[in-house]
């Protein structure tokens, strides 16, 4: 099992949710986050004076998947979140040692 953590542009969240649902994913966790990458922040003007927005708003989605569908899910996220412009975000994959469904007590791939 793997844990996928993706940082995406907030306006792409609905597209990503649809795309992973289409490949059979049944649940994701979403958090509103702020941060910067190579895109860095950007400057805005307020009443003629500049101010720097260091941390841009992003959406962080987390989903646990079975190894069998990993590639498919990554592709779905990447394709649906991509705009081709700087700031599209990143996908991280980490090893997941266990998953337990609290209601039934199922574990492993049964539970994701």
């Amino acid at each position: 099992m793997k844990m996928i953590t993706a940082i995406i542009k907030p306006f792409k969240l609905d597209d990503v949710r649809q795309a992973v649902a289409d490949v059979g994913i049944q649940g994701i966790t979403v958090t509103e986050v702020k941060g910067f990458g190579r895109q860095r922040g950007h400057t805005e003007l307020y009443r003629g004076a500049e101010y720097v927005v260091d941390f841009l708003p992003k959406a962080k989605i987390e989903l646990a998947v079975d190894d069998a569908v990993l590639e498919q899910v990554i592709e779905a996220i990447a394709n649906s979140a991509r705009t081709g412009k700087i700031g599209d975000g990143k996908i991280f994959v980490t090893e997941l040692t266990e998953a337990i469904r609290i209601r039934t007590g199922e574990t492993g791939s049964e539970a994701v």
Binding site: L45, R47, G48, Y51
Partner: protein, 424 residues
């Protein structure tokens, strides 16, 4: 014959009643401008300073009313008083209003209640004082501000108001023309504010050591927008009421023109400030558009009766352009005015006084020029002295720590939004 006289008397009384009614309703509209200033300022400061700016605004309005009754009105309109000092307190107001027989005997020359005049004037002085509160926002001690409010509304404003409207040298010797107070009200308030900001200094973090100018965005733009629209509404009373009379065809038409021109100038100011900020800064800065509408209103206030509506729109539009440039320029010289009050009321106020020259042949350059110089010099210099005195006696600035935590807590001991705010 008897019957004709009776009807004539009744008509005179009715006209008196109508004009008084008009005066009072217009005054009530101007009173509502206090709400406009309050919301505008509450929107353009940071959340941690909101409760304090609200307190300042309701406080200054009430102080202005009391001080103007105690002595301001008497100083500004001494009339034919044989002994000025006998009229302090509410002496002038308490001696009774016009008697019906006198009104009829005047044949229409006495056409509104004396108290309605006081009411209309008292809300003007509050407007002048409101200008100061925005400019010194977020770092001034509450009680020093109130102390200044006492001096401005009791003496600084009434004395120069007398020069224009009370029969003083500006109107009598120089022919200074200022219909509803681009100079007398707005420039006066802005000059006092400028002096205050100079003595007070900028908000911490506004200007960096390497010359950078940092933006400190306001916390609630819906409130700022609501405040601007309330001021826009109140201005119909400010300018419309300054016609003083509505009860015949000529006056009713004049009042209508004043309403239309006031509205058009605001529209012109908003559109052109918005366009300029779009081309200058790359985006449509709402706060500049709001300031533009107010600058348009200030610009037309010196004479909303002479221009045609399209000329009024243009006067307002120029005001809108001037205010954006003025706000940026004041920032360059490190005059920190969080809401742009000095630019809206001062710079656009000067433009408004001078713009009278284009539309009103009765106005002279000399008159308008002397008006601007004397009002500014008086209000600025006396205010400067008062601010320095207050600084020496009680201090005018909160401590650096209190400023960081927000003056809501240090001055009022409460927060405007207790469940949401953090220090920044």
């Amino acid at each position: 014959m008897e019957e004709t006289t009776q009807i004539a008397a009744q008509v005179t009384e009715l006209a008196y009643a109508l004009d008084t009614f008009y005066f009072l309703v217009m005054g009530a509209l101007v009173m509502w401008m206090a709400a406009g200033f309050t919301m505008l300022e509450a929107g353009l400061v940071r959340a941690k300073n909101t409760a304090e700016i609200l307190t300042k605004n309701v406080g200054l309005y009430s102080i202005a009313c009391i001080m103007y009754m105690l002595c301001g009105y008497t100083i500004m309109y001494p009339g034919d008083a044989s002994n000025l000092f006998l009229q302090f307190g509410d002496g002038l107001l308490g001696r009774g209003d016009n008697a019906a027989a006198d009104v009829i005997a005047s044949g229409g020359d006495t056409y509104y209640s004396g108290l309605s005049d006081f009411f209309f004037q008292v809300v003007f002085v509050a407007t002048a004082m409101s200008i100061v509160s925005g400019a010194v926002a977020e770092r001034m001690k509450l009680w020093s501000f109130f102390a200044f409010a006492v001096v401005l509304t009791a003496f600084i404003y009434p004395i120069q108001g007398f020069w224009n409207w009370g029969g003083g040298f500006l109107s009598e010797s120089f022919g200074y023309f200022d219909f509803a107070g681009s100079g007398t009200v707005h420039l006066c308030g802005a000059a006092a504010a400028l002096a205050g900001v100079i003595v007070l200094g900028a908000r911490k973090g506004k200007y960096g050591s390497k010359g950078e100018i940092n933006a400190i965005p306001g916390c609630n733009l819906p409130l700022a927008t609501l405040g601007t629209l309330i001021l826009w509404l109140g201005w119909f009373g400010f300018n419309g009421g300054s016609e003083l009379k509505v009860s015949d065809v000529a006056e009713a038409n004049a009042v209508s023109l004043v309403f239309v021109n006031t509205n058009m100038a605001a529209a012109g100011g908003l559109v052109f400030a918005l366009i300029l900020s779009r081309f200058w800064f790359g985006k449509a800065d709402l706060t500049m558009a709001l300031n533009g509408a107010l600058a348009g209103l200030v610009s037309i206030t010196a004479d909303p009766l002479s221009p045609s509506p399209i000329v009024a729109t243009s006067i307002g539009a120029v005001g809108g352009l001037i205010v954006v440039a003025s706000i940026v320029a004041f920032d360059k010289i490190r005059i920190d005015d969080p809401v742009g009050a000095i630019s809206v009321h001062g710079t656009a106020g000067i433009w408004g006084v001078l713009a009278v020259l284009f539309t009103n042949s009765d106005a002279t350059f000399m008159g308008q020029f002397v008006g601007v110089i004397s009002i500014f010099a008086w209000a600025f210099l006396v205010s400067l002295i008062v601010w320095f005195a207050l600084k020496a006696i009680m201090g005018i600035r909160v401590s650096e720590e209190d400023e960081y935590e927000g003056v809501d807590l240090s001055e009022c001991g409460l927060e405007a939004y207790p469940e949401f705010t953090s220090a920044e």
